[in-house]
């Protein structure tokens, strides 16, 4: 391995990224924008009333009055047809018909607000506007809010997206314009070339992650309690793992369309199950197995331990080594299957 070549490739790849405004926007601008928008959208506040519909019938006025006594329900009277449609479209959480003494609630049990609507309806009919028995204490302490959960997840998502797209697109683009063929006929080896490529990505990964963290800390007081060294290690390992995957996916693709399909195939499941927007720790069965096998889950879990908990290097040793092993494995496979032409 000739270091001079590795550095030269890293420089070229770095400049190639840094000089394309659109790549810079999608790597830095967009995640920050998402951080700000989502952060503000999920500020702690009074829960919204749950919208429900009462089917208009002979005694339905009575039912509407009884249900309206609860401040937590937003009641609308509708014809059966309209109510059915509203339920199907998710505009209401539940549909109520019958009389106050013999009401029937209909809701889709797979929707998260169905159960809540049912309980609220039940309580409104039994207890009217009586006060809560238990005193409610809203959790608004930094470190326990949704925004605190979200920021570490966005760091992971950004590393995943930037790593895969950043590596994959450049590689395939160089291949389509015959640049890789041209580099192949120089005394440069695959490992020199691919290492240089990955190193350029590492240089970008730290600042882009730290910017997101900093935003969270400054705008919403998101805590950062863990070890800084451990965080650096984690970010580097995750960046290597995701860019390794990007290189692997792009190691043979001949067109941008081809590589984009493969990228989405890798990225989409991780967006859904990788624990970025909602916790995957309560998932069960096959979903849980899949979630646990994803590098994004390792990264997000460890990042939350570092920011919300007070983890050190040893506490995140497991996800850290998993990510490092994943990076090494993808790089090794990529080296074997990589094609210059």
């Amino acid at each position: 391995m000739n270091l001079r070549i590795v550095v030269a490739v890293a420089k070229v790849s770095f400049r190639e990224f840094w000089r394309s405004p659109e790549a810079v926007f999608w790597t830095y601008g967009f995640p920050l924008l998402m951080t700000v928008v989502l952060g503000f959208a999920f500020q702690p506040k009074e829960p919204e009333p749950v919208p429900i519909a009462v089917v208009v019938a002979r005694d339905s006025d009575e039912l509407v009055t009884a249900l309206s006594r609860s401040g937590r329900l937003k009641v609308a009277a509708m014809t059966e047809l309209d109510a059915d449609q509203a339920l199907a479209r998710g505009r209401i959480g539940a549909l109520v018909r019958g009389t106050p003494t013999a009401p029937i609630v209909r809701a889709d049990p797979t929707r998260p607000d169905a159960d809540l609507a049912r309980l609220l309806i039940d309580r409104a009919l039994v207890r009217g506007d009586a006060k809560d028995v238990a005193h409610f204490e809203p959790e608004t302490r930094p470190g326990s809010r949704y925004v605190d959960f979200l920021i570490p997840g966005l760091v992971g998502l950004n590393l995943l997206g930037a790593g895969m797209w950043g590596m994959g697109f450049q590689l395939v683009q160089f291949r389509t314009q015959h640049l890789l063929r041209r580099l192949f006929v120089t005394p440069m080896t695959r490992s020199e070339f691919l290492s240089g490529f990955l190193i350029s990505r590492l240089l970008l990964a730290l600042p882009e992650s730290l910017v997101i963290v900093l935003f969270g800390v400054c705008l919403w007081d998101v805590p950062f309690r863990g070890s800084l060294v451990a965080t650096m290690l984690l970010l580097l390992a995750a960046a290597l793992a995701f860019s390794g995957l990007g290189v692997l996916v792009a190691s043979r693709a001949k067109t941008i369309e081809g590589v984009a399909g493969l990228m989405n195939l890798c990225i989409l499941p991780m967006w859904l199950l990788g624990g970025a927007f909602f916790s995957n720790e309560r998932m069960t069965g096959v979903l849980r197995v899949c979630a646990d096998a994803m590098p994004l889950s390792w990264c997000n879990g460890a990042m939350r331990d570092l920011m919300l908990g007070d983890a050190g290097v040893m506490d995140i040793a497991m996800p850290l080594s998993l990510l490092a092993a994943f990076a090494a494995a993808t790089f090794a496979v990529a080296l074997r299957v990589f094609r210059w032409t």
């Binding site: 001079r4 070549i5 550095v7 030269a8 490739v9 420089k11 070229v12 400049r15 190639e16 000089r19 394309s20 160089f174 314009q177 015959h178 640049l179 063929r181 041209r182 580099l183 192949f184 006929v185 120089t186 005394p187 440069m188 080896t189 032409t341």
Partner: protein, 319 residues
């Protein structure tokens, strides 16, 4: 190792492309020796197999059968990197980095070679010094091609491959590139270049291999090839209603070797213009044909190609 004195040796080279139902024989039993210090030109129409041959020489693709020795070594026998360190390559089409300047592009290639010349020297040698900080998108076609040649020269190669280096360039850019190639040769370098411009082959090459449909159909210096026609001049005449005069009559005129027609035009290959033209004019006057045009020129490689294949080089090239 490379004491044979040959830069390139090809023996019975064959390359077959297999694509589903279609089988293309791109190179069909080619034998070729390129000596050290010469500029060897592969001349042939589009699809003749030039690029395929050159890419096999460069180690970019593998032959189906046959032997290839580059600077005395073979590809795939553990010395690939050592060969690559000694050759320079300019592919038929390469787009360099969109976002790097000329200098930065050259710096990457310079890093690949341990020894080698400086980036500044390379810029100077292809007259791109004042474009050093421009990006590729700001270069003209000729400047891009010179950049490509500069990347190939950075490692101070012994052997330079140029695949259609001047296709699509204006005459001035073409001359500039010829000058770069000549100066490389003067410093002891060997060049294998492909072209479908006979003027280029005549001007630049010490020896030429004419290829058609994957086969070598003629080999020699430009002068030898032209001399092989047996006639060094071409007399072209244009007149209405020439059909009345038979080929055999024209062929029987003194010093005329052969005769080709296209429409109202006739081209005669002749050895000595001063012997052939007076009787030709006499014949035309006797038949009452009025000349619309008459010109004489030296025979070119184009005539050699037409003579060997019955087809024009350029017609094929543009299709």
């Amino acid at each position: 190792m490379s004491d044979s004195g040959l830069a390139i040796e090809l023996r019975a080279l064959r390359k077959v492309y297999q694509k589903k139902q279609q089988t293309t024989v791109a190179v069909d039993g080619l034998d070729l020796d390129v000596r050290r210090g010469e500029v060897f030109g592969l001349l042939g129409p589009n699809g003749a197999g030039k690029t395929t041959t050159v890419e096999i020489c460069e180690g970019l693709s593998r032959q189906t059968s046959g032997e290839v020795r580059i600077l005395g070594r073979t590809w795939g026998s553990g010395s690939d990197l050592a060969i690559r360190a000694r050759i320079g390559v300019c592919l038929q089409e390469t787009k360099f980095f969109d976002k790097q300047t000329v200098r930065e592009t050259l710096q990457l290639f310079a890093a690949c070679y341990g020894r080698g010349r400086s980036v500044d020297a390379a810029l100077e040698s292809v007259s791109l010094a004042e474009k050093a900080s421009s990006r590729q998108s700001q270069l003209s076609g000729g400047q891009r091609q010179r950049l490509a040649v500069a990347t190939a020269l950075l490692g101070q190669p012994e052997l330079l491959f140029l695949d259609e280096p001047t296709t699509g360039l204006d005459p001035q850019s073409r001359r500039q590139l010829w000058e770069i190639v000549r100066s490389f040769q003067r410093q002891g370098g060997t060049v294998l270049l492909t072209t479908h411009y006979m003027e280029e082959a005549e001007q630049l090459c010490t020896r030429i291999g004419v290829v058609d449909r994957g086969k070598s159909i003629a080999l020699g210096t430009p002068q030898e090839l032209i001399r092989s026609l047996g006639a060094e001049h071409v007399v072209e005449l244009e007149a209405k209603d020439l059909a009345g005069i038979k080929d055999t009559e024209l062929g029987a005129l003194p010093s005329v070797q052969s005769c080709e027609r296209s429409g109202d035009k006739v081209a005669l290959k002749v050895q000595s213009v001063h012997l052939a033209v007076p009787p030709l004019l006499e014949l035309l006057r006797a038949r009452g044909k009025a000349l619309d045009g008459l010109s004489t020129r030296h025979a070119t490689l184009e005539d050699v190609f037409v003579h060997l294949t019955g087809r024009q080089l350029r017609e094929e090239a543009s299709s």
